[in-house]
C-alpha cells in the first residue's frame, strides 16, 4: 500500500479491518513525538468510541514490532515514545485462512 510519507513532525498510523471501517480511513498522520501510552486518548478524541469498539480488542505495532501499550504506560516517563517518521499500526483480531 503506497501510504503517503508522513509530513515533517508527524508519524503514520495505519488502520486495518474494523479500524478502517470505524475511522473510515486507511491511515492518519499524527503529531510526533507522542508517548505510546497517550495514543489511545488521542484516537478517542478524534473518533469517539473507538477505544471500546476497536482498540480494546486490537494490538498495536510500532515499526513492525508489537508493543504492549499497558506496559509502556506503567513505565511512566520511561515508556516508549513514538517518533517522527515511525510507522504505527492498529492490528484488530486477525482472520487469515
Amino acid at each position: 500500500m503506497s501510504t503517503p510519507k508522513a509530513p515533517p513532525g508527524t508519524f503514520t498510523l495505519l488502520y486495518f479491518a474494523a479500524a478502517t471501517s470505524y475511522t473510515r480511513r486507511q491511515h492518519d498522520h499524527l503529531d510526533a513525538p507522542l508517548p505510546v501510552a497517550a495514543l489511545y486518548d488521542v484516537l478517542e478524541k478524534r473518533y469517539p468510541g473507538i477505544r471500546a469498539k476497536v482498540l480494546s480488542s486490537s494490538a498495536l505495532t510500532v515499526n513492525l514490532d508489537y508493543v504492549d501499550v499497558d506496559e509502556e504506560g506503567a513505565r511512566g516517563e520511561a515508556g516508549m515514545v513514538i517518533k517522527e517518521g515511525d510507522e504505527v499500526a492498529v492490528i484488530p483480531p486477525v482472520s487469515s485462512g
Binding site: 500500500m1 480511513r25 491511515h27 485462512g97
Partner: protein, 176 residues
C-alpha cells in the same frame, strides 16, 4: 447491495520471502496447487501434504457471496516466515511452502495453500495441521465475509459477529 470499494492493494502481483526449503508468499492472483506441491517435492521426502483453504458458500446457514482478504504486508510476510521456520524445524520437514491469496476470493476458490514435505507421513500430517492453526492465529491478514446484504470483518479468535465493512477512503478529510 453495491460492493463497497475494498482497501487499496498492498502491492502488485506476488510478494515472497524464502530461505533454504522455506517459502512464504502472498498474491492477488489465483493460487496454484501444482506449483505449491512442486516447490516442496524432494527425493528425500516420502510424504507431501497439501492443504487448501477454500471459500465456503455459507456461514451459520447465511449465504456467503465471496470473501476478501487484506493485509499489513511487511508484517504478515515476517510472521508467515517465522511460522514456516518454526514448523520446518519442529517437524523436521524437508520443505515447506505457504501462500495466502489477497483480494476477492470467490466460492470454491482457494485462499491459502500450505504444502509440506517430510521423509515420512506422520510428520507431514502433523506439520500441515499445526501450520494452519498458527497461521490463522497470528498472521496479519483480515477476512471480509460478504453476504447479499453487506460484508463483515471476521475474527478467527472468536465466533462473534464482526464489525460491518464500511467504505474507508483517505480522500475524506479527518476531523481535527
Amino acid at each position: 447491495m453495491t460492493d463497497v470499494k475494498g482497501p487499496a492493494r498492498a502491492f502488485m502481483g506476488e510478494q515472497s520471502l524464502s530461505e533454504d526449503n522455506i517459502y512464504v508468499s502472498m498474491t492477488y492472483d489465483e493460487l496454484d496447487a501444482g506449483r505449491a506441491m512442486a516447490r516442496v517435492k524432494s527425493p528425500k521426502a516420502g510424504a507431501v501434504v497439501l492443504f487448501a483453504g477454500c471459500t465456503r458458500d455459507n456461514f451459520q446457514s447465511k449465504t456467503v457471496t465471496h470473501l476478501a482478504y487484506s493485509t499489513y504486508a511487511p508484517l504478515a510476510l515476517r510472521t508467515l516466515l517465522s511460522i514456516a521456520r518454526d514448523i520446518h524445524r519442529e517437524h523436521q520437514l524437508v520443505s515447506i511452502s505457504i501462500t495466502h491469496r489477497l483480494g476477492r476470493v470467490d466460492i470454491g476458490e482457494e485462499s491459502i495453500l500450505i504444502a509440506v514435505s517430510a521423509p515420512h507421513r506422520k510428520a507431514g500430517w502433523a506439520a500441515g495441521e499445526e501450520c494452519l492453526e498458527r497461521v490463522k492465529d497470528r498472521v496479519e491478514i483480515w477476512k471480509e465475509e460478504w453476504f447479499e446484504d453487506g460484508g463483515i470483518w471476521r475474527s478467527n479468535r472468536d465466533g462473534q459477529a464482526g464489525m460491518p465493512v464500511v467504505d474507508a477512503s483517505n480522500e475524506k478529510a479527518s476531523s481535527d
